[in-house]
Symmetry: C2
Subunit: 353 residues, 2 copies
């Protein structure tokens, strides 16, 4: 094992520049003014020695590491990838680096993360929760600053969100306006844990509200939960609806990845898109626009979302006593080919595979 001391330290720099370590520190952090010639001497010594400050030592001393955590359920999902990109960019702009965590692989992972977060050298955390918002809140006093992303129903943590309920209702209105009457909810169901889960619950509520205001019935047959919000998960959910033999003419998928899986499954059962079935997604990830049938979706500015999360997080890192804040990011429905109606309708009974 290479000994830790193989790297030059501030002390080495100080000796070479003939100043005290404190002056080197001043040059590095800009805490105090340093006279030009002294500063140049110190900088040259740093260059000559190829000095790099030891962040463990700095972290130990001032209690901050410059690292934030970003925890998401499944890093493979397109929305996660887009959010990781946006958070890394936003963090970089603020002099922070990002440690990523994945919570959905094992049930215990999200709880572990929250209870053991402090062990991970992080100054703060952005968490896209699947299950555990309550237990986050319980542990809040023992945790580093946390910003939740998504529609978590509590008011003790900072959070960034889009109004998923209203967005889902808008999506239903759009599908109805394009001639749909029997809309599948792909991602949540009233029975099951549907309404209990943060983002999923809000989208389901919006779906139900959209049907209600059009005085259309909500049919359990047209609702299905999707455990993994991936393309494969969406395909599996769609298959379940099709195997039920349900009749429908539109699908509201709770993410774009789910929508892509649904479109694939529908095509393989012989459905024409959008002639038979309209499809709407959520998130506007890159492949929504480039899908075989370009996907209508709820779009919002992912970078603005990440910037808001980092603003909340860094302000709380400066002052943990701030009241909890919630910031809403605007969305818009982007109509693409996948909802060019009116749809003829489809059913798994039409064409067993």
């Amino acid at each position: 094992m290479t000994p830790p001391s193989s790297r030059p330290t501030m002390r080495d720099v100080a000796e070479r520049a003939r100043v005290s370590p404190k002056t080197v520190s001043n040059v590095l952090t800009g805490t105090a003014q340093v006279r030009e010639p002294t500063r140049l001497r110190v900088e040259q010594a740093m260059r000559e020695l190829d000095f790099v400050p030891n962040l463990s030592a700095r972290g130990l001393r001032n209690g901050r590491s410059g690292v934030i955590g970003l925890a998401q359920p499944d890093l493979r999902a397109a929305f996660s990838a887009s959010m990781t990109h946006a958070v890394v960019e936003a963090a970089h702009a603020r002099g922070l680096v990002v440690q990523v965590e994945e919570t959905a692989a094992e049930p215990a992972r999200e709880r572990d993360l929250v209870t053991r977060a402090r062990t991970h050298l992080i100054d703060g955390m952005i968490l896209n929760p699947v299950r555990l918002q309550d237990s986050v809140v319980e542990h809040l006093d023992h945790l580093p600053p946390i910003v939740l992303i998504g529609e978590v129903e509590q008011h003790r943590t900072d959070r960034v969100f889009i109004n998923s309920r209203s967005a889902a209702r808008d999506a239903v209105r759009h599908l109805l306006a394009r001639g749909a009457r029997r809309i599948v909810a792909l991602g949540g169901a009233e029975h099951g844990a549907g309404l209990d889960k943060a983002t999923q619950g809000q989208r389901l509520r919006g779906y139900l509200a959209g049907l209600a205001e059009a005085e259309l019935p909500a049919s359990p047959e047209l609702q299905v939960e999707v455990p993994e919000w991936t393309i494969a998960g969406g395909a599996a959910g769609m298959r379940e609806i099709l195997e039920r033999g349900a009749e429908f003419d539109a699908v509201l998928a709770f993410t774009d990845s789910i929508a892509l899986g649904a479109m694939h499954e529908l095509r393989s059962w012989g459905a024409r898109l959008p002639e038979d079935v309209l499809v709407c997604g959520f998130d506007d990830v890159e492949h929504a626009r480039f899908a075989g049938t370009p996907l209508t979706t709820i779009a919002f500015d992912h970078q603005a979302y990440a910037n808001a999360a980092l603003d909340l997080l860094t302000s709380r890192m400066r002052d943990r006593g701030l009241p909890p804040r919630a910031q809403e990011i605007p969305y818009e429905l982007l109509a693409r080919t996948s909802t060019q109606g009116p749809p003829a309708g489809f059913s798994g009974k039409n064409s067993p595979i």
Copy 2:
């Protein structure tokens, strides 16, 4: 600012358990045997105080942080997302956490990362290089252990790779066997920097080799570089070929994301897939299988790839004196709908948009 001392320390635990700090350390690290009753007393004290070790202090003391870096060009790309997932899982299994970096956003980012890597508290780094393999090699002595992923042409660094050259040649053979004769290379070109860049160069060489062994000419008109290996980048590259008025009957895209963009662009120019044009990608990301026209691609085990990278990295973290090692991961060509030939052929002249 919350003072660093707000958390209980090993000293607090030691006092409560009536032992020395050293014993607490022994319980924590398992360095030395601790008698059962003592250990239980210490563990109870840790629980009562909600003690979590300070990793900055541990890192300062033993020179390791337990964090590895993962640097990729563009975190939004589907392959990056898949690799991030796989590396996080592999790291987790080894008790490590992952800090992510993005290098393509600004030209200086990759160099910065390499020259300043040590500042980032990381014990090692997995780097998917775009430009800078040479300068990585130059700096190697001053860097933490590095594993390169991708087809970098040098032999001083540990690396994991698939044989992209042979894979690209296999893809060309496959396209030719399915009836193609004029194959677009979407991602690299002989003129331009085509052959100089690691992965891109290997795939281009394989493409040229495949044509040569069939005694078919390589036409510069059918080659184009794609600066961003994303869906949008693929669409832009395909558009350039189409606007040249080139005639072709197949596309070898250098990643699946590029392929998806190409398929979208082809469709919007009126091409039928695969009736007019065959398309083959690279990487087998999830959306390749679920594309409107399921995509033939070069598939390999992403998790095995990540595991290999971590094995190389952790072994080098233990012993920096090891000779450089290269590990090849096997691939296979997965034939899907997008290469069901024979293709009729297409040209941008057919249908100006």
